[in-house]
């Protein structure tokens, strides 16, 4: 009986268990200074008992709702409750931070603890599960997915989180942050663009020439196995040598450290998914369709443009998506060789043992990766010809 009830939505159930557990962990950490050891505060210490009880009650609603049999009702209850939890967590975090800092030295810092992050994680597990239950209800799905984010952004803009350490790291570095964010986007977007052009060309070549096929995949596969740090490092020596031997290369900005090796490495990493997907995309086109096209008097070029390209495009873009998401993360490492980007905050934070500075770099990278992923998924969907879309028409 119990088992049957639980497994209506085991994902949301697990998320709720994580959420309940989050109440047992410290929500906020107060440190006398930026790098000093901190003291952890529980939710009921930072906020108050009523808030703690409210959170517990909301998690229990999720837990119970995950056993509901009616799918849409379950999705609605889970989606609404999870978003209430998110809103409460955000409000509490900002408010408690201010209260805990009351009377403290100005250099004291308060940062978010594991309890908060667990609650965030648990709530999003529930949100994604609720989305699944709301299949077919487009508006409700968007609402459930975005309500928490919108709450967060509104509170952030209103200065609600200003007392949190991560925002104190940000304040005073606004210019630097925007500069590195900008550079991060340029680095990964530029590299993936170059990688897409090269990757598609290599992919097409691999399908057209049996002799080229094996070496292309051999090289693309090998490069993927080189650790990113090693590849960045390996490029320094030859590029320095080149720029010393040919000073004009220095003049156009090609040096052993900085942007050049970063872009080269990122391009190399983005090649494999794009080459592979281009190859598979072109190979999966029904040979009978090509034969029929030739037999009806289409030229090779017409077949490529009118049959092969539209049929392969979704897979090629799927490869670009993989490469983009991967590149957003890899670009962080590029900061090590002086290329800049959001990785700069991460390595600076590691160096200064300032976890919130690390987060200032890490969180935007995660958000950027998610945003790129969503954007590219939309693009893939848009490029999928109607006759090939699953579950439609």
């Amino acid at each position: 009986m119990f088992r049957r009830l639980v497994f209506r939505d085991s994902v949301a159930f697990s998320g709720s268990v994580v959420g309940l557990a989050s109440l047992l962990f410290g929500w906020l950490t107060v440190k006398p200074s930026r790098v000093a050891a901190g003291a952890s505060f529980q939710l009921w210490e930072g906020a108050a008992w009523p808030v703690t009880l409210l959170m517990a009650a909301l998690w229990l609603v999720c837990l119970t709702a995950s056993t509901l049999a009616r799918e849409r009702l379950r999705g609605a209850v889970l989606g609404i409750t999870a978003n209430l939890i998110l809103a409460t967590a955000f409000v509490v975090a900002g408010r408690a931070a201010g209260q805990l800092l009351e009377g403290q030295d100005t250099i004291a810092r308060v940062s978010l603890g594991s309890g908060f992050w667990l609650a965030l994680g648990g709530a999003y597990v529930v949100v994604f599960s609720a989305r699944e239950s709301l299949r077919g209800l487009r508006f409700s799905r968007y609402l459930v997915s975005l309500a928490g984010i919108v709450t967060f952004i509104s509170l952030l803009a209103a200065g609600w989180f200003d007392r949190l350490s991560i925002l104190q790291e940000f304040s005073g570095r606004e210019e630097r942050f925007l500069q590195e964010l900008n550079r991060h986007v340029l680095l990964f977007a530029g590299s993936v663009s170059v990688g897409t052009v090269l990757g598609v060309l290599l992919g097409v070549w691999a399908t057209r020439s049996r002799r080229a096929e094996r070496p292309i995949f051999f090289i693309a596969n090998i490069t993927q196995t080189i650790p990113s740090l090693a590849l960045f490092g390996l490029l320094i020596a030859p590029l320095s040598a080149l720029s010393f031997a040919y000073p004009f290369l220095r003049d156009i900005g090609i040096r052993g450290v900085g942007v050049t090796p970063a872009v080269i490495a990122l391009v190399i990493y983005s090649l494999l998914p794009i080459v592979r997907n281009t190859y598979v995309g072109l190979r999966q086109v029904d040979p009978a369709a090509i034969d029929a096209g030739l037999g009806m008097g289409m030229t090779r070029r017409q077949i490529f443009r009118r049959i092969e390209v539209p049929l392969a495009a979704p897979l090629v873009l799927e490869g670009v998506r993989t490469a983009s998401v991967q590149s957003v993360g890899l670009t962080a490492v590029a900061a090590l060789i002086g290329a800049g980007g959001l990785g700069w905050f991460i390595f600076r934070g590691v160096g200064q043992q300032a976890p919130d500075l690390i987060l200032l770099g890490a969180i935007p990278i995660i958000v950027l990766a998610l945003a790129v992923d969503i954007l590219m998924r939309g693009l893939v969907r848009w490029a999928t010809p109607r006759g090939l879309r699953r579950g439609e028409g």
Partner: protein, 365 residues
């Protein structure tokens, strides 16, 4: 219409097609048949230059195809293949429109043409024009394939097992439909198959190939009655006499039926039974009702009382049926003679076992 002159295609040392010459007249259906690897598909693909012959020449309407740009040549020849090869990202209408678009027809003409073709292959344009190939059954896809091949109204069609990838029942329907369409359009068709029954059913002339060579090229009747070699003899099989029957329509050997009206007198019925022991009974619109036999008539007061009623659908044969079906029906029902009816189940004749025997010996002579 089309003439192949000493065509050879070699792949390395092996000749896929070896010195083959063939001529197909305008409006004829020529079926290329033979075991796998005999070169029939290669021969077909050399006609529209999807495969270039190693040597030899091909003429269409007297013009050497070598002198025509391959794309242009192919646009003027319909092409349908077993795996159909519809473009999955295009609607049925867009698939049919491929060649007309290559030929720069205007939109209105393309639209009306694709409607016309869908109707021709028996699919409703309203329902099918906007569908995607993924939504079609195998039989529907094959019909769209044929419609697409006919799109620009080419005088000539090349078909590579166009009804191969469907179940036997659907194949039979598609074949019957093809025969009907071909009667109206009179295209010059070259069709590849490995199914002898299909060849016999569709062909005006059959070209039998073995290891790249043409071993016999003749009408189905001639091939069945006079196989040119042991290979052909074995290929057509021991049941070739039966196969020959499927070339002969019941209409051709029909004899007038011995029948009486249901309201006829017993005397006239008895006299109609003079030659045999029984006679068909029809109603006043000549629809088949049943039969009476002499013994029961002698005791009865009227024909109506002694008639054994039958369901025409169970026992009678359509006049468009073949002798093969007639024979099968006779054996199945244990009858020496069966009635033949027209579309409105009116009795138009009858056919007896002896008639079939006579027809086979005639064709075999």
């Amino acid at each position: 219409m089309i003439r192949l002159e000493e065509i050879t295609k070699r792949y390395g040392q092996t000749a896929a097609v070896d010195n083959l010459s063939l001529e197909v007249g305008k409006g004829e259906v020529c079926v290329l048949i033979g075991p796998s690897g005999c070169g029939k598909t290669t021969t077909l693909r050399m006609i529209n230059r999807l495969v270039e012959p190693t040597s030899g020449r091909i003429f269409i309407d007297g013009e050497n195809t070598d002198h025509v740009r391959p794309e242009k040549l192919r646009q003027s020849i319909g092409y349908a293949i077993q795996s159909v090869g519809l473009f999955p990202h295009m609607t049925v209408a867009a698939n049919i429109a491929v060649v007309p678009e290559l030929l720069h027809w205007d939109r209105a003409r393309i639209a009306s043409r694709s409607k016309e073709l869908l109707t021709l292959v028996g699919l409703s344009p309203e329902e099918y024009a906007g569908k995607y190939p993924g939504q079609l059954s195998g039989g529907e896809a094959q019909r769209i394939g044929v419609a697409r091949a006919l799109a620009a109204d080419p005088p000539m069609l090349l078909m590579d097992e166009p009804f191969g990838a469907v179940d036997p029942l659907t194949r039979e329907r598609l074949q019957a439909q093809f025969v009907g369409i071909q009667q109206g359009l009179k295209k010059t068709v070259i069709l590849v198959t490995h199914d002898l029954d299909e060849a016999i059913r569709l062909a005006d002339r059959i070209a039998i190939m073995e290891a790249g060579r043409l071993v016999q090229y003749d009408t189905p009747e001639a091939i069945l009655s006079r196989p040119a070699s042991k290979f052909v003899h074995d290929f057509v099989g021991t049941d070739r006499a039966l196969k020959r029957l499927s070339r002969i329509s019941v209409e051709n050997v029909l004899r007038p039926p011995a029948s009486v009206g249901i309201d006829a007198t017993v005397e006239s019925a008895v006299s109609a039974c003079d030659e045999c022991h029984w006679v068909w009974v029809v109603d006043d619109t000549s629809r088949l009702v049943g039969w009476v036999d002499r013994n029961s008539l002698s005791a009865a007061s009227s024909v109506r009382d002694s008639v054994v009623t039958v369901n025409p659908n169970d026992i009678a044969l359509a006049s468009t049926a073949t002798l093969r079906e007639a024979l099968s029906r006779m054996l199945g029902q244990g009858l020496k003679s069966i009635p033949v009816v027209d579309r409105d189940s009116r009795l138009v004749g009858e056919i007896a076992l002896a008639d079939i025997e006579a027809a086979t010996s005639e064709a075999g002579a």
